[in-house]
């Protein structure tokens, strides 16, 4: 993200300035330096605040007043933590999700107090104020001294002549104290200073990177969501995907029922109604209507059977993946070789998702790939169920275009599964799905 270098953009690859030389001018370096500088006042403020909260709260704990004071202090610490996260985001490019918002069991100040005191995140924010202070102090001193000395020495050859005390002296004291005093000519002094300054300035970006790395760790570890909370939010999003796909499935089934069997049965009822009316006066016409109705019933039955299979194939429940996938392959217009190598059956939900993964992928093979043959392989690898669908079509399947493959990947993700698509233009295509076994 840090491409905003101060150095002029290179005109040709040959004139490119090495990254190491550009670093002292890069926006990233200066932002990190700014962060380290700002850390001092911010840390002082937070430290003073934390000390005040703890001492006041603890001091008042013998009276009942201490508890709400402490809770209010923790709420303030969370607010300061949010500012710190914003500062880290702006200057360090660090994206850290904040802790979960407090959810008091009931409305009212009592419940809020309890929630604040019970939340580990609140205490971690307070801890940050204490831990960050000494670190920020040291880092500030080191960074500012290093950077100031570096630039001063680097520019020494430019400005030493302007200092009245140095002007006209034949020799300059390069290093003094401790008995030995070294005098060199002004030119040599300038050269040595410049070289040392250059080293300091070139090393500065690395130093800042290292120092801010500690800041990043502190922010992530103490001001971020706890790993458990992060997992919870991940699961929540998975649950959302699952609910969405379930709703989409229901809509699809309803559509198919509405457009297919329902319309057919309504037409059938209509034909039979007409036939009933005509039975006495025009038996021939009635017979024709009954004949048409008979045909419609058979078609409606076929459609219902297909729909039921689409919801959950009976053979999958009865016989497992091998026979179910063979039956699926037999209905695919492209010849499919199926090999299922499983000694036992995985969890029913996993079986179902594996089946629909293959079903979707074979639908793609038949619809878009132009393949002449395809293969389905299913095997177990440790705690994983592996499903591979390959075809010799023209490839170019893109999982990112928000189409069927993206939906499939989301569905697999909802059970912690993964979809890997290898489909170079020109083919062949191999799609691998990896699902937890959960037997």
């Amino acid at each position: 993200m840090d491409t905003a270098y101060c150095a002029p953009p290179p005109q040709a690859p040959g004139h490119r300035v090495p990254a190491g030389l550009r670093a002292p001018f890069s926006g990233r370096t200066w932002r990190e330096f700014l962060h380290l500088c700002l850390s001092l006042p911010v840390a002082c403020l937070m430290f003073a605040y934390a000390v005040a909260v703890v001492s006041t709260g603890a001091g008042l704990l013998i009276t009942f007043l201490g508890i709400p004071v402490l809770a209010a202090g923790l709420a303030g610490a969370r607010g300061l933590g949010a500012l710190e996260r914003a500062r880290a985001r702006a200057l360090l490019g660090l994206e850290v999700a904040g802790p979960r918002p407090l959810r008091p069991a009931r409305p009212g100040p009592m419940a809020w107090t309890v929630a604040l005191l019970r939340s580990g995140a609140s205490w971690r924010h307070l801890l940050y104020a204490f831990v960050h202070f000494p670190w920020a102090l040291g880092a500030f001193v080191l960074a500012v001294t290093w950077w100031a000395v570096g630039w001063a020495l680097l520019s020494f050859p430019l400005w030493y002549r302007l200092v009245p005390g140095y002007a006209g002296l034949p020799r300059l004291q390069l290093w003094g104290g401790g008995g030995t005093v070294v005098y060199v000519s002004p030119g040599v002094a300038a050269g040595i200073s410049g070289a040392v300054g250059l080293l300091l300035v070139l090393a500065g970006p690395w130093l800042f990177r290292g120092l801010t790395q500690v800041d990043r760790l502190l922010v992530r570890g103490l001001l971020g969501a706890s790993p458990l909370a992060a997992r919870v939010s991940e699961l929540e999003s998975d649950r959302g995907v699952l609910a969405d796909t379930a709703a989409a499935d229901l809509r699809r089934i309803e559509r198919q029922l509405h457009d297919g069997a329902q319309a057919r049965l309504a037409a059938l009822a209509l034909d039979l109604g007409l036939a009933k009316e005509k039975l006495a006066e025009d038996p021939d016409a009635a017979a024709r209507l009954v004949d048409a109705a008979h045909g419609e019933v058979k078609t409606a039955l076929q459609e219902l059977r297909d729909l039921a299979r689409g919801i959950h194939p009976a053979i999958l429940t009865d016989r497992g993946l091998g026979p179910a996938l063979s039956a699926l392959a037999a209905r695919c217009p492209v010849p499919v070789a199926v090999q299922v190598d499983l000694a036992e059956r995985p969890a029913a939900a996993i079986e179902g998702i594996a089946y629909f993964t293959v079903s979707e992928l074979l639908r793609n093979v038949a619809g878009h790939s132009g393949a002449r043959r395809a293969a389905v392989d299913v095997w177990r690898s440790g705690g994983q169920l592996m499903v591979l669908v390959a075809d010799d079509g023209h490839g170019g399947a893109d999982p990112g275009e928000g189409g069927g493959l993206a939906g499939l990947a989301a569905r697999l993700g909802s059970v912690d599964g993964v979809l890997v698509v290898d489909s170079p233009p020109g083919g062949p295509t191999a799609v691998t799905a990896e699902l937890p076994w959960r037997g």
Partner: protein
């Protein structure tokens, strides 16, 4: 205007239904009964266009029979097209067919209090005679509400305490009346005399505190407004 004697009158119909099978079935059914199907379309836009073109040519249909759910969104375009037709061409009656009966749809359709509105469950086409009756009734400015809608209205109405005062027979009559049936049709259905039906109806209006009104359609609207309030 009794149920059965209007069957002989020719009615000009436009059918909007996306399932070709059903569209053909409906066409067969209506032409078989001597009515004229002047157009069959497959979506709401085409329905509005066709009716506008027919009306511009001075040959507006008497009634439109429209499926609620049609392409492109497969939600309620048939209903929305019907409501638009009610506004733009009040002289054209509208009978809406639906796979599911939603009282909300019926209320929207009846909201403009115009004449000639119907809302029926699609399955009702199987009862050929009754369905054709309903088409003709609506074409003539009457009302046809599906018994399920009426049952929903009766069940959901907040006037339960008043409704509880009706005798079972009066509730039956109220239901049939809300469906839009004429006195003689109600009498035929319940196998009683026209006079008995009239007596039940005046009792119902008395108990509900409604002013007796003549004209089947206005009567239906009064009852529906009462149940909905």
């Amino acid at each position: 205007m009794g149920g059965i004697d209007v069957v002989d009158d020719r009615v000009r119909v436009v059918i909007a239904e996306d399932s070709v099978l059903l569209r053909e079935g409906l066409t067969r059914l209506l032409t078989d009964r001597g009515h004229e199907v002047v157009a069959g379309v497959g979506d709401g836009e085409a329905l509005v266009r066709t009716v506008a073109a027919l009306a511009a040519a001075g040959t507006a249909p008497d009634v439109v029979v429209a499926d609620v759910r049609m392409p492109p969104t497969h939600t309620d375009e048939g209903l929305r097209a019907a409501i638009r037709l009610r506004r733009d061409h009040p002289e054209v009656a509208v009978l809406v067919l639906s796979q599911y009966v939603e009282e909300q749809y019926a209320t929207e359709l009846l909201a403009d209090a115009g004449r000639g509105v119907g809302y029926l469950l699609k399955d009702r086409v199987a009862e050929v005679r009754e369905f054709v009756d309903a088409v003709v009734r609506v074409a003539r400015g009457g009302t046809a509400l599906d018994p399920e809608v009426v049952a929903q209205l009766l069940g959901r109405s907040r006037k339960q305490d008043v409704l509880a005062h009706l005798t079972p027979r009066e509730r039956e009559v109220l239901g049939l009346m809300a469906e839009g049936r004429t006195n003689s049709a109600i009498a035929r259905q319940l196998v009683v005399s026209d006079g008995a039906v009239e007596k039940h109806i005046s009792n119902i209006f008395l108990k509900l505190g409604l002013a007796p009104s003549d004209g089947d359609h206005r009567r239906v609207l009064a009852v529906l407004a009462y149940l909905n309030s």
